[in-house]
């Protein structure tokens, strides 16, 4: 494993911005050059990216069918209340 340098720490601070495409091209190139020579940072960026991907793809919760049914019912009731309130 490579030695962790000050550059590694600086790069670690910028990894989200890097992965989100928020950095200038020059800075991206600098980071990519470092990544080619530093196993630690390369694994860091790859596993960080994978973490984000896993949550993006699998992190969502589905509304349970029962809860969805109850929501529909509650909203119908609310509409009815609103109509009654409007007509009085």
């Amino acid at each position: 494993m490579d030695h962790i340098t000050e550059t590694c720490r600086e790069i670690k601070d910028k990894l989200s911005a890097y992965l989100d495409g928020e950095l200038e091209t020059a800075l991206c190139a600098e980071i990519e050059q470092h990544l080619r020579g530093c196993d630690n940072c390369r694994v860091m960026v790859d596993t960080l990216n994978k973490t984000i991907t896993l949550y993006r793809n699998y992190g969502q919760d589905e509304v349970p069918p029962d809860a969805h049914t109850r929501l529909t019912r509650v909203l119908n009731l609310e509409r009815l209340k609103m109509k009654i309130q409007q007509s009085t």
Binding site: T47, Y58, V74
Partner: protein, 201 residues
């Protein structure tokens, strides 16, 4: 969203004019995101369902006041987030809590295991999902809300900032800390030796 589908803003206008199916479609589009935010913040499905109902009742009643200054999604998630905050027994975590995991995050491990090339199908199962959820649940509230909105619900930085009423810069800082903390947690799970299938040859 497919190109032939109406935009949220069109549906809002129809719903404001009394079209009930338009509102139902808006519910359909957004209920999952609202529920995810509430469940990840509150952890209890029953509480998340309360927030889900409260959010859409408020939206139904407040729709006539919606002027489109923000997007409908931002407006709706703000309602959901405020309803969630009301349910949290304690006030939002103070900023100092963020420092709690800072030490953790700055300690750069000497050896990193690379699990990023393992196929997702091999990584994903019920146990994995439990680990992922527990990792999110362990985040301080201020990071959790940002992470759920940005990376799970897929909102932009600006939308997230508007929902949470914080600056886009604060969103970026908290998001990065949250991601690093989650990466640590997932690495100690996925990176554990029992999962290394490489090097068996």
């Amino acid at each position: 969203m497919k190109p032939d589908q109406p935009r949220d803003e069109d549906l809002v206008r129809q719903a404001q004019a009394g079209d009930e199916t338009a509102f139902t479609e808006l519910v359909h589009r957004h209920e999952r995101h609202v529920y995810t935010l509430a469940l990840r913040m509150l952890r209890e499905p029953a509480d998340a369902e309360d927030v889900l109902q409260e959010t859409f009742i408020s939206a139904l009643r407040g729709l006539k006041h919606f002027r489109g200054d923000a997007t409908f999604a931002t407006w709706l998630y703000r309602i959901a987030y405020n309803a969630t905050l009301m349910k949290l027994r304690h006030p939002p975590a103070p900023a100092s809590l963020d420092a709690a995991i800072e030490n953790d995050e700055n300690a750069m491990p000497r050896e990193l295991t690379d699990w990023s090339h393992d196929p997702e199908a091999a990584l994903m199962n019920k146990e994995t999902r439990r680990v992922m959820d527990a990792a999110v649940a362990a985040l301080p509230e201020s990071m959790r809300s940002v992470f759920v909105l940005r990376d799970i619900d897929g909102l932009s930085t600006d939308e997230t900032a508007a929902v949470l009423d914080i600056s886009p810069e604060a969103v970026k800082v908290r998001l990065h800390r949250a991601r690093l903390a989650l990466r640590e947690k997932l690495s100690s799970y996925f990176g554990a030796p029992r999962l290394t299938t490489k090097g068996a040859s």
